[in-house]
């Protein structure tokens, strides 16, 4: 029990270590990092399941953002840079404001203890040639390199990240990964200077399908490519004004229609579908194999017990047997296909009623693309009349907020391995 409390304390309370004279690296790691990277650095903390990209598995020694040769470990400076600057566009924040350089280096030492490779290897930053200044000639030359190296196969000929094989990309852990949209440099995880971009081609990104291109191209060619990629950056929304914004949104809506599954996935992510439609273990790690397969139990006092539905395309227990219209009707009005109705929570369908038709279509297209997972979900259960009346009494007469309880474990029929995420 004490152990569990301590673990919970690490996630809930993340106080600043302002008075510490000597820095306790392991404790600092548990406070600041374990919520995502897991207690033992396996990348399986309580919040890991919902994150995309997933937090790094620190035990593997495979790091994307390095100044060392492909396949090598990162240097201490590389690790410190990732912690200090964060990885843009992900849940990894910049810790500059909250951690002192000494605390960052204590964390670097702690992170290195998770992989035995750091004990036997001495990573060394590669020597790189001088940066190529940008010019129309170097941009043109870089465009030729982009074609020569077939970057477009993943990143697309328009470099928007939608290449022919982009949807098939998997990382070393077998999880789907994306090809970066090269027109949005602010979202480049490892930074967007020409040197940062060059390093990604030169050193590769370990653990992902992005290889090192040294050998396939010369170093000067890679500099040309970096200059070309840098030139692709479009204007971000926060620098636009006036009609530019409306035409940007119109263009976005148009490109969303060309790839409804991808757009639908984004809609599912921004509405947080997986947050409720996936079960979590006692230690709050998500049961990955049941992501989107429902099974999370909610007690809505005084209205009864609800279990989130299986959204995968399974014919018997998921949405596979529902028509598009039935899904849309439920999402926007809470009316099930048998005509029965859902109260306006915990599924916030009154909000989803405002969803634009094209977003709704895309969402359905995405849900249809989820591989079937059999997980039979029990029907909602009404409370007994006594708890119903006492619940309503305390809500309406005593003006107590109606509590909503969520429970760990899968309430559906699918069997789940009892092992917790952090002891896998």
């Amino acid at each position: 029990m004490i152990k569990r409390l301590a673990a919970v304390a690490a996630f809930v309370a993340v106080p600043l270590l302002t008075h510490a004279q000597t820095i306790d690296g392991p404790a600092l790691y548990q406070q600041r990092c374990a919520a995502c990277h897991g207690k033992a650095g396996r990348g399986d903390g309580p919040f890991a399941g919902l994150l995309d990209p997933r937090p790094r598995d620190l035990t593997s020694g495979r790091y994307k953002f390095r100044s060392t040769d492909t396949g090598s470990l990162p240097t201490d400076d590389d690790l410190a840079a990732s912690i200090t600057n964060g990885l843009h566009g992900t849940a990894m924040p910049s810790w500059k404001r909250f951690l002192s350089p000494e605390q960052v280096s204590a964390l670097v030492s702690q992170v290195k203890t998770f992989s035995p490779r750091f004990g036997s290897e001495q990573p060394k930053a590669i020597a790189i040639s001088a940066e190529l200044p940008s010019s129309p000639q170097s941009v043109d030359a870089g465009r030729a390199v982009y074609e020569k190296l077939k970057c477009g196969a993943c990143h697309g000929t328009d470099a928007r990240g939608a290449g022919a094989i982009a949807r098939e990309l998997k990382d070393d852990w077998g999880r789907a990964t994306v090809a970066t949209n090269l027109s949005e440099p602010w979202a480049f995880r490892g930074g967007s200077t020409v040197r940062d971009i060059f390093l990604r081609f030169r050193t590769g990104m370990n653990g992902t399908p992005m290889p090192s291109f040294l050998g396939a191209a010369t170093e000067p060619e890679l500099w040309q490519l970096a200059v070309y990629i840098k030139s692709l950056g479009r204007k971000p929304l926060w620098e636009m004004a006036g009609q530019e914004v409306s035409s940007f949104y119109a263009e976005q809506a148009k490109s969303a229609q060309s790839d409804p599954v991808r757009h639908g996935e984004y809609i599912a992510q921004i509405t947080g579908c997986a947050f409720c439609h996936s079960p979590f273990r006692e230690d709050s790690t998500m049961i990955d194999e049941l992501k989107y397969a429902g099974g999370q139990r909610f007690d809505v006092v005084p209205f009864g017990t609800f279990v989130s539905y299986n959204l995968t395309s399974d014919k018997q227990t998921g949405l596979g047997g529902w028509t598009d219209d039935q899904i849309k009707t439920f999402v926007t009005s809470g009316v099930r296909r048998d005509g029965s109705r859902m109260i306006p929570f915990p599924m916030p369908w009154p909000n989803f009623a405002n969803m634009k038709p094209q977003d709704l279509d895309a969402l359905v297209a995405f849900l249809r693309s989820l591989p079937p997972v059999a997980n039979r979900i029990p029907l909602p259960q009404s409370p007994n009349i006594v708890s119903y009346l006492t619940g309503k009494f305390s809500m309406l007469i005593l003006h107590k907020d109606p509590p909503l309880w969520t429970y760990p474990g899968n309430a559906g029929a699918a069997a789940v391995a009892a092992s917790s995420g952090s002891s896998r």
């Binding site: 919520a35 309580p46 399941g49 994150l51 992900t90 971000p236 921004i270 926007t332 909000n351 907020d401």
Partner: protein, 208 residues
């Protein structure tokens, strides 16, 4: 006569009790209202954006409003009443108590641009950070199982920006968020909790 009065009294009392329970049983009439009556307020809540003169900013704020609606922000970030969140008066002004077993009880933040009690003094960067990884400007991390920032960390920077533009246009509401009572029975971790909330008011802006 006395006997009659006694019986009359008893049956009146019984009838009253039955009527009271029947009343309790039938309100609020979730199942008697049409779905459209529920979904109306959620979509119409918020400031009048048509008054924004710059068309670019207006388009961003409209997009932000749409995203705030789909993200169901106001379902938690509005003071609850017995009829649901009070989006007429306390839209995005926080104040809902939310609990999870083992994680304790928290009270949702005031997201309106009120300088003293809301996020009026937070920078864009502060808002972006709390959105992506739940870290408030004072350094404490919002538990991701109550405020689902892990589910929201996928939003594109441009969409988060649109939400920030929208939040800056909402009506500022002075509504100080109290730190929740650590003795709440649902609190799983009082010690950890007190440590985290040792400061006075965690929603108040901190000097940088």
């Amino acid at each position: 006569m006395k006997r009659f009065l006694k019986w009359f009294g008893i049956s009146a009392l019984a009838l009253g009790v039955i009527a009271f329970f029947a009343f309790l049983y039938f309100i609020p009439p979730f199942m008697l209202m049409k779905p459209s009556e529920f979904s109306g307020p959620a979509g119409k809540a918020g400031p009048d954006l048509s008054k924004i003169s710059d068309p670019g900013e207006r388009a961003m704020a409209e997009r932000g409003h749409y995203l705030v609606t789909l993200g169901s922000c106001a379902d938690c970030h509005a003071t609850p009443t017995a009829q649901g969140p009070d989006i007429d008066h306390m839209y995005l002004a926080g104040g809902m108590k939310t609990s999870r077993k083992g994680f304790g009880t928290y009270i949702t933040m005031n997201l309106t641009p009120d300088k003293a009690t809301g996020v009026g003094n937070w920078s864009d960067e502060d808002l972006m950070r709390v959105w992506r990884n739940g870290i408030a400007p004072d350094g404490h991390q919002v538990p991701g199982h109550l405020m689902p920032w892990p589910a929201f960390s996928h939003w594109s920077d441009e969409d988060v920006h649109a939400v920030i533009v929208y939040l800056r246009h909402t009506t500022p509401i002075a509504h100080a968020i109290q730190k929740p009572d650590p003795s709440e029975p649902s609190m799983g971790t009082p010690a950890a909790f007190e440590e985290d909330f040792a400061g006075a008011d965690y929603a108040a802006p901190r000097p940088k």
